[in-house]
């Protein structure tokens, strides 16, 4: 449920982006603080001067038309862009007060803290058990019993345990698409991240599987910060507490989900959520 409702006046000259309507979240309640983030692939700008705070232990959805930069923003949060030499970045991203690009930050540890689930399920070609154990094996070695407990806990958290407990050593690729996506979530949960980034996690799934993933997202909110990129407006409305609407690399409106969908402040947002904008 939204707890912050002070919204900067779109007309106020104090606002960083004069045309945007951005909810202010206190620094003490935010998990990510993004300040003036710009990002470009070579000469093609993808994000321009983005400033927003993502609240802790809430579900925040990024919506917007294709190519608006929402996936780019998501990938910036766990530095997956590091792999691409062409990406240029300006601005800051703080995770719990720490700049994630600081030289003393280990990128592998950052990615453990900020887990990510992708659009298409990408289980590794191993058994179900080994998929969940993968992240654990990268950390300090555990006793087998402890590891088994962690794996059961992670699979239960992802609401998959009852379906796979008798076939833990089958190939992960023998699962259905929805099960695979929940397995990927379990795999990510096993390393106990603080943030879970979800990049259109249900777009490749059938309605029942989508429903299960959405339930899962709601149940995880109590212990994690979740950030969801979605094309599906109903989904954003159903599961998220806050919604940010991006367009052409810029943040247009960021508000509590109920407010944004029932009473958008900007005409551009309204057009998009009602499907009138191309």
């Amino acid at each position: 449920m939204p707890v912050f409702d002070s919204v900067t006046d779109p007309a106020s000259p104090a606002s960083a982006v004069s045309t945007a309507a951005v909810i202010e979240i206190p620094a003490s309640a935010s998990c990510f603080e993004i300040e003036g983030l710009s990002l470009a692939y070579g000469d093609t700008p993808a994000l321009e001067n983005l400033t927003l705070r993502v609240p802790r232990q809430r579900v925040t959805a990024f919506i917007g038309p294709s190519g608006c930069g929402k996936t780019t923003l998501l990938r910036a949060l766990n530095r997956l862009h590091d792999l691409n030499d062409e990406v240029r970045r300006q601005g800051h991203i703080h995770l719990e007060g720490q700049e994630i690009h600081a030289p003393e930050v280990e990128v592998a540890e950052l990615r453990r803290r900020v887990g990510m689930v992708f659009q298409t399920p990408n289980p590794f070609p191993m058994s179900i058990y080994e998929n969940v154990a993968f992240g654990l094996r990268l950390q300090a070695p555990l006793k087998k019993r402890q590891r088994d407990e962690m794996i059961e806990w992670a699979l239960r958290s992802a609401a998959l345990w009852d379906e796979v407990k008798d076939r833990l050593h089958d190939s992960a690729w023998s699962l259905s698409g929805g099960q695979q996506q929940r397995l990927v979530i379990a795999r990510t949960l096993a390393v106990e991240p603080e943030v879970l980034l979800l990049d259109e996690p249900a777009s490749a799934l059938d309605p029942i599987s989508t429903l299960k993933i959405e339930e899962l997202i709601r149940s995880l909110k109590s212990r994690l910060t979740l950030i969801l990129v979605t094309h599906n407006m109903q989904q954003a409305a159903r599961v998220s507490d806050y919604t940010a609407f991006l367009h052409a690399g810029e943040l247009v409106e960021y508000a509590a989900t109920d407010a944004l969908f029932t009473n958008p402040r900007l005409a551009q947002t309204e057009n998009y959520i009602t499907g009138r904008m191309v």
Binding site: R111, F118, P125, Q139, S171, V191
Partner: protein
Amino acid sequence: MIARWGRRLRIPRGEGAGPWLAAGCVSLSLLMVVALLVLLAGRGLVYFWPTEIELVTLDDGQHFAGHAIRDEPPPRGQLGVSQRLYHTGNRDLHGEVWRWVDIERIASQARPADLVVVERNRWGDFIGRVAGLQEQGRDLALSEAERWPTVRQRLERVVRLREESDALREQVVEPLAKRLAEGRWRDSNDRESLAAELEAANARVLAVQDAMSRDALVLESVNGRRVVQPLQGVYRILRPNAMSGFDKFMAWGRDVWRFLSEGPRAANAAGGVWPAIFGTMLMVMLMSVAVTPFGVLAAVYLNEIAPQGRLTRLVRIGVRNLAGVPSIVYGVFGLGVFVYGIGGTLDEWFFHDRLPSPTFGTGGLLWASLTLALLTLPVVIVATEEGLARIPDAQREGALALGATRAETLRRVVLPMAVPAMLTGVILAIARAAGEVAPLMLVGVAKLAPQVPVDGEFPFLHLERKFMHLGYHILDVGFYSGDIEAAMPLVYATALLLVLVILVLNLTAIFLRHHVKARHGALQR
């Protein structure tokens, strides 16, 4: 009719000639492969079949006996008569083993059951009759009925004795002589006892050989000329005209086995090809062991680590083009760099006391394997790179998003998924390397190296030794042996064997790949 075939072949009607053309090309390729195998198998395997001996009487009353090989019509447009080629053997009697005969001059042909073919260590085959048996120079009094069983019994005794003498020489005499020559004894007493042991062993070998030379065959050609042939020098006696189909089949099987399991004789013109089979297999295996890690690491660097800039693209193009360099060029490179360069240096450092006779500074198994590894490196790199490129980025990102470093991602996710592609590369490399002869001639293949490079003597695998190779054996038998008629079937048989050896090596790798794929689930979907 054609329409019905079309339905059965799943070629839809009304699509014009395209599908038919494509299907035709496939059939043509298949047909050529089958024709190749049938030709090799037919010409190669028939060689071992004990053909019957014909006793030919010419119109002038002359006799001779031999295997009919083939008929040849007169040259086109010229007058003349058809001729038939006979293999008559008996080089010691008439200096020639082949005989062309005008077919019109043949007055009669017969196949008497008592004609024999004797395979000897000198002068090639004898074709004629067994006239008697001698024991220490004295003729044995044998009835007609006793003669053949006795001959076979005595021959078996000689074979047993030969095995005994070979075993004695290999297991007792040679190790002792080597120990003495290398000065490996504790004190002078020990040395003397070793010398005495060696002498005793030598005496035993001599005694066995003496026993072997006891018996001799008296052979008589169909013209009545006699030869005394010591049984010691006889490998096999057959009476093909008296053999049933089953006997012939058994004799054929035994001959094929001897071809596979024995070393060559008579300057490669007879005997088996075991050292060449072994050399080919071993060389290809060593090559695979050498090429796989290099190729895989290079592909991993090019595809996963190096920045994908212009330089990387250039290197990739270079690697692909290396695959097109003629193999003899690699041979020259191997000779210059491996044999003379590295091998020569190794000799100076570690084998100085044996110079000027080279140890590693001459062609050998190691240098041949490395040269072929270099030759097949591009194949492995390209196949592995293609496999790596097929792995979806989602897999890499999935691992990274769990907190894996790039090295951990590579080792735990990417490389295991690329194993089938690597094995595909190795399969292609084997297919290319096993048939390659030209570079080997420069870096270590030998015309005759009956000692295989693996034995019971430390360090068991002798990388510096020269080795035999089936491909080179074909060349040697086919082009450098004096008797082309005798060499031809051997060439076919050896070629068939080379194809089979490559097939076996490839099947092994394919089986391995299948096994790996099954373990990792349906990887390449």
